[in-house]
Subunit: 240 residues, 2 copies
DNA sequence: CGCTGACTTGACAATATTCAACAGTAGTGG
DNA sequence: CCACTACTGTTGAATATTGTCAAGTCAGCG
């Protein structure tokens, strides 16, 4: 169930078999969710985290005006609200995109394992820091890239991240976000997302049909996105 | 020298006097810098972090097109590239805005103290997670707020953060960013920043004169910014 | 079969950018 | 001390990108 999660971790740093056992024991109750639920509300007091095992989640913030900004997209293997372990209250909602399931991990259990396995504290600290790095690249997109470049970047990033956990089929991957949700992520309107997506199709860069994306011209897509995957930190390092 | 840093930490969680001693001992060499230096380049291998003791730094990313996005603004007391402790290579540059100084802290020293004082591991993990929270609020600004709202939000945030470390004088604070740098942070052009700043002045919300900002109408400014400081996590919590 | 939500299109408007020019200030070197 | 340069801030006019509003199609679902 948490094999994708271990794949993600092992890509970035070595995990001993002892540590693997401990991580596998972390998982308590599994909670299933339906699409479009808010699993955690901003400000709520937390005593556990959610390791996403199936389906997609997003972090999102609402504005008084009713607008919503999606701040991060989570795929299976992601420890979606691990930052809540130290923050204790999130500054954003955790909402589901699809049906799916999370493995619940109590903060107490986490505290225990990092006490006994200090290396895992670094592993998970690294994990939240990589999340933040992804967030910075998104801010770069929102600040400097055009609509078409942002959208291309989104597709490049998700393909790379899904590939790590084995959820791609060649250049194709499931992509369950509606155009409204893409708009909320890219900071654009639905209308403009629709037109921009058509432009990507017209240029022969991607295809999209029933909730899946196929990258037709990777070079072209990466060029328009100015995609450089180094911010994903897809290489191994030695911690402490 | 690192009193502001301790103020910041103590606002969020309790630090024992023993821990304080350990933190004070962390500081090794102090490095002074001039304005507009790049202290750390993206991708560079790191074996130490920088605790900002004087002056302002920014995290920034360059695009092939030559555009620059400022992703975070750092003020004295900030452990500016603490995330580099686990990442080992930053995905962005660390650049100076003003003259100033950083206290250098080797990764080895950090690894030692968190091994001996596991609570401090949580304290600094929290610290990077709060940085990420500030980054998310910025992404919300870039994605959903208008130019004037973003700029108002920037001033509200900086006043709140500077107040924590005792760098405000009532509603006034030093603000050394040029309009070009503000533009790079807000994802706007210099021209538009200039006009937007004039609008804030015309509405009687802020004054700005020789590198300092005075908030003239806090309610009004916060309203236009939709400012809600909860993302700054300015409250105490118990870690582990 | 009638809803509802997702997607699509057209016409128009607002926000922000681009380009070009100029004033003020500080720093530099002759 | 002054001329020179470079940077910062400012303004106007034209343009581009993206948003708004309104309407309509299509598919899935109870």
């Amino acid at each position: 169930m948490i094999t994708p999660h271990l794949k993600k971790l092992r890509l970035r740093t070595d995990i001993s078999s002892e540590e693997e056992r401990v991580i596998r024991d972390l998982v308590g109750e599994v909670r299933r969710f339906k699409a479009d639920e808010v699993l955690v509300h901003a400000g709520e007091e937390l005593d556990r985290c959610m390791l996403l095992v199936e389906g997609w989640l997003v972090r999102s913030k609402d504005l008084p005006s009713g607008e919503r900004q999606v701040l991060e997209i989570h795929i299976p293997g992601d420890f979606a609200d691990l930052h809540g372990f130290t923050l204790k209250r999130l500054d954003h909602d955790m909402a589901s995109v699809t049906d799916g399931a999370v493995a619940l991990v109590s903060h107490a259990a986490l505290a225990n394992i990092i006490e006994e396995h200090p290396h895992l504290a670094l592993v998970y600290w690294l994990s939240t820091n990589i999340d933040a790095s992804v967030g910075r690249e998104m801010a770069l997109s929102l600040g400097q890239r055009s609509a078409i470049s942002r959208m291309a970047h989104l597709f490049c990033e998700l393909h790379a991240r899904l590939k790590v956990v084995g959820e791609t089929r060649g250049d194709t991957f499931d992509f369950p976000l509606t155009q409204r949700e893409i708009a909320e992520y890219l900071g654009l309107t639905v209308v403009h997302v629709n037109r921009t997506l058509q432009e990507l199709r017209r240029k022969g860069l991607v295809e999209s049909e029933n909730r899946a994306i196929t990258i037709r011209d990777r070079r072209g897509l990466e060029a328009i996105a100015e995609f450089d995957p180094s911010y994903l930190h897809l290489e191994k390092r030695v911690l402490a």
